[in-house]
């Protein structure tokens, strides 16, 4: 199982703060699974949308491999400081 965490504006837009996904080979695969839900998922996570993905608290890219137990986070553009 892979834990997927949604933060800030994305959590509000998707109506979910976290969930478990059975399996995904890579970050790109996971995003396809999520987009295929359609609706806000397809819209908010569309190619070119400004969000980043972290795997186990480090920034990742589409090719980053996933394994069971990983925590993947979908991060809207940050606005701290």
């Amino acid at each position: 199982m892979i834990k997927v965490v949604y933060l800030a504006r994305l959590r509000d837009a998707l109506g979910t703060s976290s969930e478990q996904i059975p399996a995904a080979q890579t970050v790109a695969d996971l995003l396809i699974i999520l987009r295929n839900r359609g609706g806000v998922w397809a819209e908010e996570l569309a190619e070119g949308k400004a969000f980043k993905v972290a795997v186990n608290h480090a920034l990742a890219n589409p090719a980053t491999a996933l394994k069971s137990g990983d925590e993947v986070a979908l991060l809207p553009p940050v606005t701290g400081g």
């Binding site: 965490v5 933060l7 800030a8 504006r9 509000d12 400004a50 972290a54 608290h57 480090a58 986070a73 991060l75 809207p76 553009p77 940050v78 606005t79 701290g80 400081g81």
Partner: protein, 150 residues
Amino acid sequence: MPVRIQTADFDISAEIAALRKTNPKIGAVASFVGVVRDMNEGDAVAGMFLEHYPGMTEHALQNIITDAHARWDFFDSLIIHRVGQLAPLDQIVFVAVTSAHRGEAFDACHFIMDFLKTNAPFWKRESTPTGERWLDARVTDDAAAARWKQ
């Protein structure tokens, strides 16, 4: 611990004193305080809620400090970032750097703030007369961080 995420306010004098300890090699302390303004993008701001991603935040800030140490010769640094509900005039963030001479302290402090703005997982939700809104990232923040890559 050079990175702290907390809901409580902080005292600048006390934090700088703790950072300096009694190291008599320190000749310079540069610091920065970020403050909540009552206006943003033309709208009145009654307050804001600061969210972060625990675990990743500490990791991201520590990486920024490590990057700064690779570029400048300084002694210590401290980052405090508040989270939770904040009001105009409240302190949000504090960065301080100690060094022998002022150039390193100024540059490392500015560098840490610029990358904190673009690389650390914090998000602001503002309360305005038309409701709550998540802040958009500022393009100028990306430009500020990018100039260090030259």
